[in-house]
Structure formats: structure tokens, C-alpha cells
């Protein structure tokens, strides 16, 4: 098992509903991933800027940490944990 810090901007199809954010699909390295499970979510602040973090499973056993930056409504793939 290996953790890798990525911190790359990515595109994410997102559901904004009832004041909540939910990542549905994302694209990384020319490959599309479907989020199969959200393990957890947490919020962090940097000054007045707010970040929403999600730990998700997508297409298999690998685990991804996605971060939504509220200041510019953009997503980043922060970390990946690969099985094996």
C-alpha cells in the first residue's frame, strides 16, 4: 500500500444539494473515475478561505482524497492511496 501526495487540479462532476457538496465522478490522468463510496468528509480553513475534503473510493480498492476550494469553486486531487 502506498500513499502519494498529488495536489493536482482535477475536474469533478459535483452534486450541490440541500447545502451539501457531493463529488460524483472525477477525471485524473486522462481517466474517469466514478465515486463509489464517500468514506468521510471534513472541513478546513485557511484564513477566511474554506476547503471541503472528501475521502472517497472510486472504481476499485484505491482511496482518493479530493479537496474543494470554496474561494474559486475548484477541485484538487490531494492524495491517493493505492492498494498493493
Amino acid at each position: 500500500m502506498m500513499y502519494e501526495d498529488v495536489f493536482q487540479p482535477i475536474e469533478v462532476i459535483t452534486l450541490f444539494q440541500h447545502g451539501k457538496i457531493q463529488p460524483l465522478r472525477f477525471k485524473w490522468n486522462e481517466r474517469a473515475y466514478k465515486v463509489s463510496k464517500i468514506n468521510s468528509g471534513w472541513v478546513s480553513d485557511e484564513g477566511t478561505n474554506r476547503f471541503y475534503h472528501f475521502s472517497v473510493m472510486a472504481d476499485g480498492p484505491d482511496c482518493f482524497e479530493l479537496t474543494f476550494d470554496l474561494s474559486n469553486m475548484s477541485w484538487e486531487l490531494s492524495r491517493v492511496c493505492m492498494d498493493g
Binding site: 468514506n39 468521510s40 471534513w42 478546513s44 484564513g47 478561505n49 475521502s55 482511496c63 482524497e65 492511496c81
Partner: protein, 423 residues
């Protein structure tokens, strides 16, 4: 996600214990308190395992990466089977469990979970005293009736924590704060233990006296010499030796051992002001009196100063801690005639203390800086408490500091920093 009561919880007999406690409560209606101590099980490691199912069932060690110099913050129960525990150097943990999964701590993530936990606690009782990021005391005396008994309340609390955060905790309930803490550690993980006046002789009295909060190794040694080995020995004090040998302290320990300590649960908003504000840093590699050292000293000064100003405090005593690579540790402090709250002044005082104690060229492993004797700052005192220096520093300080703080408030801590190069 469904929650099932764990075996440890299922096996408790609420009716019996509840009835006993209810009887006691009726008898001493106004005196008997019920205090709950909640201790999250392997908190940081459990959060990492929750967030990454690949980590479940594996030895997870949070605190640093192999080859690094940190210490273990928390480890999963699987890692504890290898003898790893909090505070152990990562290198030693790696030696014991080379195939373990070593993770850096994600402070913001853990803090977020801790805030959520506090919110859950407050839905049960308003009297909540967090004592660390993963531990809290709750006074449940006045809310227990709503749930029937304390066991139902504890089960509901465990259920809510699991449902909302997917984490487990161990709970101890007792009529004294110290016993509540003792109880929460008796059946980890996922435990629920109750110490009542009925079962105290069975659950508490046989335990070694060192288990009692406030009895350190040295005190325990002295107690052993006078024939006191267990908490029961201390509580009974058969030959009345405690007062003779230890005076008031002896009486105090006896009370604690019987669960008669008056310590209560103090919610955050009723707490006394903090006594000191400080930070420590362990260097990734040993350093000497060089740039890396002074940059870190400035960073710590800024962290301390910022926290003091956020809370509206100035302080008079600066303490510097220095640990060499062989773990020899020294602490020096200096009390000033005036209050300080400025990063630069804290840095300068820290530097002076360092210069007094540092033995040239010895490699440094850790430094710590703290300010104590804190007093609330008032605007007048900011202007008049300190004599002006050659460069009108107090006036510049009063212009610069609020700007720096507001920049950090808006853009985060890293946006601006003092230069530590001119030293």
C-alpha cells in the same frame, strides 16, 4: 450504516447497576454526582482507518514517516500488539513493526472530528469539559433521568458517535472525576465501565496505587515502604499512617482513593484563564546554532505570540526548553518587569535564554518556547507597558502587529512571516 452495541456494552446489566445507583441517588439526592469520561479509541489512527478502508485491520502508526525523527502520536490497536505506544520514537516503532503503515498526522482533520464530537456531547449535556483532542468529561447528573439510567445514556452517546463519525470510544462513569477516568481505561477499546459505591471494592481497590491520578513513581515507592500497595490500602489506611507520614497530602490521597475528591466538570466557558501558551518542535535532523534553528525559533515565537494576541493576553515569564540529541534536556525561564505579546520580543527573550544554556556545537534535537504569567491585555497597557527603544519599536509594533494578524486571519497563517535572518 448500522450500529450494534458491542459485546462489552451488551454484557452490562443496566437494571442491577442502574437500580443500585438510583437507590444511591435517591438517598443522597443532592450530593451524588455522575461524571462520565469519554476517551476516543486510538483517535488519530481510527480516523485514518475510517477514511481509508485499506488500512482497516492493519498496524497504523500516526506521527511520522519511517526514517524521520518524530514520535508516535497514536497507533491502532493492531500496532499496539507489537509493543508500540504513544510517545515512542518512530525509529523504535519501525524496528518493532517494519511492515506497519506510517502516516503523517493530519491535524486539521483530527481537529474537525474533535469539534464534531463536542457538538455531539453538547446534545446530551451542557456541562462538557474537553481535556484534550480525544478526551472529555461530561457531568450527566441532571440529564441521566431522561434516558432511564446512565447505561442507556452511555449507549446512546456511543451510538451517536458511531453513527455520525464512524468512530468508537470507551466510556467510564463514576461518582468522582478521577474514577470516571480510571473506568474509561478499564475496558478499551469500545468499553463501558461503571464504578459505583457498590462495586468500588471489587473494581478499584485491588488496583495498584500507581493507577491513581496524582500518584507518581516516587510517591508510589514511598507508599510501598509503609505497606500501601493498592488503591484499597490507600482508601482504608488501616493504621492511620497517611496523615502521620504525608500530612495534608496523605488525607487528600485517601479522599481520592475513596472517590471523595471534590473535583467537578468545568465547561470551557467557566474555565480559568490559560496558565501558559507554548509550542515545541522536534527537528527532522539535529541542528546546531544555525539558520534552521533560528528560523524555527522565530516560527515558534510567532505561533506563541499569535495565540496570545488571539486570546488577548500578554505574559511576563518566557520559558525556553532545549533538548540535545542525547535527550539531555534543559529548561530556563526569565520573568520580565513588563508584559510581552509581540513575536519579535518573544523571539529575542527566547534567544537570550538559549544563549545562556547552549553548550557550543552540541547537536540539538528539540526546542520549546512558552510564555506564562498571563494577564489580559488592555489597549492602554499596550501603549505604555514597555519603554520605547531606539527605533520606536513599540509604536511600529502597534502598527505592524494588527496588520499582520488581520492578513493571517484573512489569508491563513503562512501569508506573512517575520524575517529571522538578522539575528
Amino acid at each position: 450504516m448500522t450500529w450494534h452495541p458491542p459485546e462489552a456494552v451488551k454484557n452490562i446489566e443496566p437494571a442491577k447497576k442502574g437500580a443500585e445507583n438510583n437507590k444511591t441517588r435517591k438517598k443522597h439526592n443532592t450530593h451524588v454526582r455522575l461524571i462520565m469520561h469519554i476517551d476516543m479509541d486510538a483517535f488519530f489512527a481510527a480516523i485514518e482507518q475510517r477514511d481509508n478502508p485499506l488500512l482497516k485491520g492493519k498496524p497504523v502508526i500516526v506521527g511520522g514517516i519511517p526514517g524521520g525523527r518524530g514520535v508516535v502520536s497514536t497507533c491502532s490497536y493492531e500496532a499496539r500488539e507489537y509493543g508500540i505506544h504513544s510517545g515512542m520514537p518512530i525509529a523504535e516503532a519501525e524496528r518493532r513493526c517494519p511492515h506497519g503503515i506510517y502516516l503523517k498526522a493530519h491535524g486539521k482533520k483530527y481537529t474537525y472530528a474533535a469539534v464534531q464530537l463536542l457538538e455531539i456531547f453538547h446534545t446530551f449535556t451542557p456541562v462538557v469539559e474537553p481535556v484534550s483532542i480525544d478526551e472529555a468529561y461530561l457531568d450527566i447528573t441532571n440529564v441521566v433521568q431522561k434516558y432511564g439510567n446512565e447505561i442507556n445514556l452511555a449507549r446512546e452517546l456511543k451510538k451517536q458517535i458511531f453513527k455520525q463519525l464512524n468512530l468508537n470510544c470507551s466510556i467510564g462513569i463514576a461518582y468522582s472525576r478521577i474514577f470516571a477516568k480510571l473506568a474509561s481505561g478499564m475496558d478499551k477499546p469500545d468499553g463501558l465501565t461503571i464504578i459505583s459505591k457498590v462495586n468500588i471494592e471489587e473494581k478499584v481497590y485491588p488496583l495498584p496505587v500507581e493507577k491513581l491520578w496524582g500518584i507518581g513513581e516516587k510517591t508510589a515507592e514511598i507508599l510501598h515502604k509503609i505497606g500501601i500497595y493498592t488503591i484499597g490500602d490507600l482508601a482504608v489506611d488501616k493504621d492511620n499512617v497517611l496523615k502521620k507520614c504525608f500530612g495534608k497530602n496523605g488525607e487528600h490521597w485517601k479522599k481520592i482513593a475513596r472517590g471523595e475528591s471534590a473535583a467537578t466538570v468545568i465547561p470551557v466557558n467557566q474555565r480559568e484563564n490559560e496558565k501558559s501558551i507554548g509550542h515545541e518542535h522536534t527537528f527532522g535532523k539535529d541542528v546546531r546554532e544555525d539558520d534552521t534553528f533560528f528560523k524555527m525559533l522565530m516560527k515558534l515565537s510567532q505561533k506563541v505570540g499569535r495565540r496570545m494576541r488571539k486570546r488577548g493576553f500578554g505574559g511576563k515569564t518566557v520559558t525556553f526548553k532545549l533538548r540535545y540529541s542525547d535527550f539531555e534536556t534543559h529548561t530556563h525561564r526569565e520573568t520580565l518587569p513588563h508584559l510581552i505579546w509581540d513575536d519579535r520580543e518573544i523571539f529575542e527573550e527566547g534567544k537570550l535564554l538559549f544563549k545562556q544554556m547552549y553548550k557550543k556545537n552540541r547537536p540539538i534535537r528539540l526546542i520549546g518556547l512558552s510564555v506564562s504569567k498571563l494577564y489580559p491585555l488592555q489597549f492602554d497597557s499596550i501603549l505604555t507597558s514597555h519603554q520605547e527603544d531606539l527605533f520606536n519599536e513599540p509604536y511600529r509594533k502597534n502598527e505592524i502587529l494588527p496588520v499582520m494578524d488581520s492578513l493571517r486571519n484573512k489569508y491563513g497563517e503562512k501569508i506573512i512571516s517575520r524575517f529571522s535572518g538578522v539575528i
